[in-house]
């Protein structure tokens, strides 16, 4: 309270006693409380980041936490060499003043030295992020498999070509094209363990409306229950069977049939061992063969 304002006589002559003070204080408190709750509701709405707005690298996946850490200074916007980032303006569906980018217009170019993160004074863009490949701004998802012409068998792969982490974040799954019978499908497949959500694929997609879009992680990712593991992955990761493998199996088989336990199972006309090439791998045997050429 303003200690030296012991209610001197006011110009309009009203003598404010303690009662008046309490009444006006109460009125202020109620008014401000109402304003605060309104603001809290507004904040709740602002926490719901629209899917098309992506935070810069290093931002916390939970946008509420990010909005607590970002003081809306715009230094990251200034240091982005590609004018990707912009500060949300009043009326944008994103919390006012916070930095975001829209992949379809200007994606993040995945700079190696992450200049935007270095510029952030408050650490809202987590300085623990050292490699841009570890950023998780979002996750690209090939949403519309009907529109994507690669799924129809055409050779597009533009999203694969532009990806800065190609081969890890996005790979081409090559499959037989049953319709044409003699062509292959080159299906782009995104891997969430490597995709940084930079949005270059969404920008480059040649369709009128991008078939591949970067979505916030919480929208894009499901989660396998911890109670279940994929057996073959665990075995691969362990490098050997988790449970001691069977001793070799024996079978009663008719002649000419063989059984491959781990593979094909029953093989009726068991092929002889692959014919060796008609020449020995040691050239001298051939050269010193009797009888000349």
């Amino acid at each position: 309270m303003d200690k030296d304002n012991h209610s001197p006589p006011r110009p309009n002559g009203v003598n404010r006693g303690r009662r008046d003070f309490i009444v006006s204080a109460l009125r202020s408190a109620v008014g401000v409380g109402l304003a605060a709750t309104l603001l809290a509701v507004h904040q709740r709405r602002a926490d719901a980041l629209p899917a098309s707005a992506i935070r810069p690298p290093g931002a916390n996946a939970d946008d509420n936490i990010f909005q607590g850490a970002c003081i809306r200074c715009g230094l990251c916007v200034r240091d982005c060499p590609y004018d990707t980032l912009k500060l949300a303006q009043l009326g944008d569906p994103v919390a006012t003043g916070t930095p975001y980018f829209e992949a379809r217009t200007i994606p993040c170019e995945m700079c190696d030295d992450i200049p935007c993160l270095k510029a952030c004074p408050t650490g809202a863009l987590d300085p623990a992020l050292k490699e841009i490949e570890n950023a998780r701004m979002g996750l690209a998802v090939l949403i519309d498999q009907e529109a994507c012409i690669a799924f129809q068998g055409l050779r597009c792969e533009v999203c694969f070509n532009v990806c800065p982490v190609r081969g890890e974040a996005i790979t081409l799954d090559m499959r037989h094209n049953p319709r044409s019978g003699k062509h292959a499908l080159f299906i782009p497949v995104v891997h969430s363990d490597a995709c940084t959500g930079c949005g270059k694929c969404e920008q480059a997609c040649i369709l009128e409306e991008a078939a591949i879009k970067v979505l916030p992680l919480k929208l894009a990712k499901g989660a396998l229950g911890a109670h279940y593991r994929l057996g073959w992955q665990q075995k691969a990761r362990a490098g050997e069977a988790l449970v001691t493998p069977d001793t070799p199996h024996q079978y009663n088989l008719p002649s000419g049939a063989s059984y491959d336990h781990g593979g094909q199972g029953l093989m009726l006309d068991s092929p002889g061992d692959a014919e060796a090439p008609p020449f020995s791998s040691n050239p001298l045997d051939t050269l010193n063969r009797k009888g000349g050429i």
Partner: protein, 846 residues
């Protein structure tokens, strides 16, 4: 429109009958719906690469509104690549040229004037005046010279993207009309080495296999061919075979890792130029391990060797050229197997491994594959082999391996030289628009061939010059030296795609006493460097015919009118021929031999000669009653395309070189193309193989009838170093090439907004360590300089091409980053094809 009403009548008939039979016809309704939205569909081959996919073009209200992959086309069965997907947009770039433009200063042509729109008459007047002056000077210089010596001051740079008709008409205009062999296609930059090797080994151009090899081979070996990006639909078929066929293997050899390595079971990176050594090693392995298919070799093969140390096709005064013992020599010399075996001996695994940087295991695995008689192998290559200072040799060494093992002309077994452009085969090679060729494998040097051609074209004897004309790189040099003064560039963008722009090409074009005409649809770099620009009709705006890489000739009808005053190249050549009287182009002694040509124009002699104008005006229709435009027919009053084609077809049927038969004109409108030789309407899949090739006599099994003794040539050639290699100050290799999203110089594909967005600028792909050493990182602007020029572009270290240390790659589609300023105009001295793949450069921060 009338035809769609008929369509309704027919569908009503079907519907009524089906109803009576109680059958529901789902297809029926869609067919009806299809007819409803008023789009007329017709088949057209794709405008881009040599694969030759067929697309259906949808025309409505005079505009191409949509395209679709042609589901019935055997090559692509309804599929396209990303460029094919956008075919409907390439003709509608905002800055399309629609009027002839001439450099003028205060109303008159001036070399340094600015472009001003002019009428076609004024354009042709200025051109005719320049051409006549140059031809007059040539005729004086040729006085008294035999026909084997005469030269000319007029030239043309044509294209493997010409239609068959345009190539044939241009070839006639120049060789017969102007008596100039200085006409060369841009296929010189892409297939000349392949042509040279085909003729030397088999006596006949064009591959002996076809695309069906893709479905029958056990193994594929790619040599310097990034099929994944440059023959996308063929790569899709190759991938499908690899996925669905047991033990199918894919081996990819290249100087850097590109997208085709994704499918490679065995990827091999070798040092530039050492492919010569690797192939000799494989041949040596086959010979040492007695994997030679003796009954094939004894019956069908001769052993020869080629002169060595033949220089690099540079200017005669260049030190490298002076140092060469046999510059440009290529005469084969017969040898026996022992001599061949002895010549191969130095190429041991250790020597080649050390030279090429490829491990001995890799080399052996490759050699074992070729040597294994049970493995059917198809070898594919494109510019890696062709754009090579020893391109003819390396193509030949590839044939040696296949001939030694007899793996040739069989389903899924044989060498296959892939073609880059849609009609490098159909137009440039088969129609013979090269400086040394005539149609159907005939050559200008042989009198017998010239006589046949003169008879066909009803020309006086001795019209056709016998001296080989200026090839691509020589044209640039002759322009610069002022020996070539009138130059017409059509359907290519050589100022951006040709080598050594700064030192040779640009000075040549801007040489004041030259007059450069460019026929172009968009304001490209070549158009900017020209003196006169003629607006052209593109692709579906004209009737045309392409011949793809598997000898499949595909025709298409004109779908829409060209914008403004644009005319097809064919119209331009034939119309321009009207400006010349025979007296102005042929000397007196020639006219004396055939007096009736006196006073006639070249148009009368070359095109209104009773054969080309044999087919009267008619409406061009399809089997559904749809009617199509034909601007040339309306203008000239006869079916020009059909006349040209039918005259050209005789060369293949009755010419000295057999086995080049083509079907009649109308057959190609009813089929998705036919693979020649087409005899009694039947296509040939594998040439030289009894049963598949009608020209192989019964019981012969195989006959390389292109050669007099039906025997192919195994030609030994040694390893020789490239023209330019990295040294202390230019310490990096640079190679150039294409990417999937853009065609050649991007003049069409960069005008499609979506394609521009997917790949807007050329990048320099380099190894991260190389970048780091030079203070560069991904995304930085770098300056790339060679001894001849420099450009700047951004660095890419994580891109689609993973470069080995010491090598960089820059695509040439970006008009703002002309990588061909850096490229040396060294060529294969035999094929005269430029080596775009080996340049020494230095890279530093811009």
């Amino acid at each position: 429109m009338k035809q769609s009403r008929r369509e309704f009548m027919k569908t009503h008939a079907i519907a009524a009958t089906a109803a009576a039979a109680g059958i529901t016809l789902p297809g029926l309704t869609s067919a009806k719906a299809n007819a409803d939205d008023g789009i007329r569909w017709d088949k057209v081959p794709c405008r881009f690469c040599g694969t030759g996919c067929s697309v259906l073009v949808g025309e409505k209200d005079g505009k191409v509104v949509a395209t679709q992959g042609d589901p019935d086309a055997p090559v692509n069965r309804g599929l396209n690549c990303i460029k094919g997907y956008f075919l409907s947009k390439i003709m509608y770039g905002a800055d399309r040229l629609t009027q002839p433009l001439l450099r003028k200063k205060d109303g008159k042509y001036a070399k340094d004037g600015d472009f001003e729109p002019v009428s076609w008459d004024e354009a042709f007047d200025v051109m005719a005046e320049k051409w006549k002056a140059a031809i007059k000077q040539s005729m004086e210089e040729n006085k008294g010279k035999p026909v084997e010596e005469i030269t000319s001051r007029v030239g043309m740079f044509g294209s493997g993207q010409w239609t068959v008709f345009e190539g044939y008409a241009a070839s006639k205009l120049y060789k017969a009309g102007f008596r100039s062999n200085n006409i060369d296609p841009n296929a010189r930059h892409c297939m000349a080495s392949a042509v040279g090797a085909f003729i030397r080994a088999f006596g006949a151009d064009e591959p002996m296999g076809c695309y069906d090899d893709l479905e029958h081979a056990d193994a594929f070996v790619l040599w310097g061919a990034n099929m994944a990006e440059n023959h996308p639909v063929l790569w899709s078929r190759l991938t499908d075979t690899r996925l669905t066929k047991e033990e199918c293997e894919v081996h990819v050899l290249s100087t850097f890792e590109h997208r085709s390595f994704e499918l490679a079971d065995h990827g091999v990176i070798f040092k530039p130029q050492t492919d010569l050594a690797i192939l000799n090693y494989i041949a040596n392995y086959i010979v040492q391990n007695d994997a030679v298919n003796w009954d094939f070799v004894n019956q069908h093969v001769n052993f020869t060797k080629t002169p060595t140390d033949i220089g690099y096709g540079l200017r005669p005064e260049h030190p490298l050229e002076q140092a060469a013992k046999n510059p440009g020599k290529g005469k084969l010399e017969g040898i026996d197997f022992e001599a061949y075996k002895k010549a191969l001996e130095p190429y041991t695994a250790e020597y080649v491994s050390e030279l090429s940087g490829v491990s001995v295991e890799s080399l052996e695995r490759l050699a074992k594959l070729y040597a294994d008689p049970k493995k059917k192998i198809v070898s594919y290559w494109t510019m890696g082999f062709n754009q090579h200072v020893r391109g003819v040799w390396v193509n030949g060494l590839m044939y040696n391996v296949h001939l030694l093992t007899g793996k040739i002309s069989e389903p899924g077994n044989g060498p296959f030289s892939l073609t880059g452009q849609p009609s490098a085969c159909g137009t440039a090679r088969e129609v013979g628009t090269f400086a040394h060729r005539l149609p159907a494998d005939l050559v200008v040097k042989k009198k017998e061939h010239r006589d046949f051609c003169e008879k066909q074209w009803q020309l006086p004897e001795g019209t056709l010059p016998g001296k080989v004309g200026y090839h691509a790189v020589l044209q640039s040099r002759m322009l610069k030296d002022g020996k070539l003064n009138c130059y017409w560039v059509s359907t290519n963008n050589n100022m951006q795609a040709g080598p050594n722009i700064n030192e040779e090409m640009y000075p040549g074009w801007r040489n004041p006493d030259n007059f450069i005409v460019v026929s172009e649809a968009y304001p490209t770099v070549s158009a900017m460097a020209a003196d006169l620009i003629l607006p052209v009709a593109m692709w579906a705006e004209k009737e045309g015919a392409f011949g793809n890489a598997e000898r499949r000739t595909q025709f298409w009808r004109q779908q829409v009118k060209a914008p403004g005053e644009s005319r097809s190249d064919l119209w331009q050549f034939v119309e321009f021929s009207k400006r010349f009287k025979t007296e102005e182009v042929w000397p007196e002694e020639l006219l004396a031999k055939k007096p009736e040509v006196r006073g006639k124009t070249l148009f009368d002699v070359l095109y209104a000669n009773g054969v080309v104008n044999k087919y009267p005006k008619q409406t061009v229709t399809d089997s559904r009653g749809n009617e199509y435009l034909s601007d040339e027919m309306d203008h000239f009053g006869f079916y020009l395309q059909k006349g040209l084609y039918e005259e050209y077809r005789v060369f293949g049927k009755d010419g000295p070189k057999k086995g080049h038969d083509l079907a009649e004109f109308d057959a190609y409108h009813k089929t998705r193309g036919l693979r020649w030789p087409v005899v009694d309407g039947k296509e040939t899949l594998w040439r030289y193989r009894e049963g598949y090739d009608p020209f192989v006599p019964k019981g012969a099994g195989i006959a390389f009838y292109g050669r007099p003794d039906n025997r192919a040539n195994i030609i030994f050639a040694p390893y020789e170093p490239p023209a330019e290699a990295p040294d202390e100050d230019f310490d990096l290799w640079l190679t150039t090439g294409r990417i999937l999203e853009h065609w050649h110089t991007g003049s069409m594909t960069l005008r499609v907004p979506e394609l521009y967005r997917s790949a807007p600028h050329a990048l320099v792909y380099m190894h991260p360590k190389d970048a780091e050493k030079r203070g560069l990182k991904r995304g930085d602007e770098a300056k790339i300089a060679s001894r001849r020029g420099e450009i700047a572009c951004r660095v890419e270290t994580k891109g689609r091409n993973k470069m080995p240390e010491g090598m960089a790659f820059i695509p040439f589609f970006d008009a703002g980053r002309l990588v061909n300023k850096l490229v040396l105009d060294a060529t294969d001295p035999l094929s005269k094809e430029t080596d775009f793949k080996k340049v020494a450069v230095k890279i530093m921060p811009a």
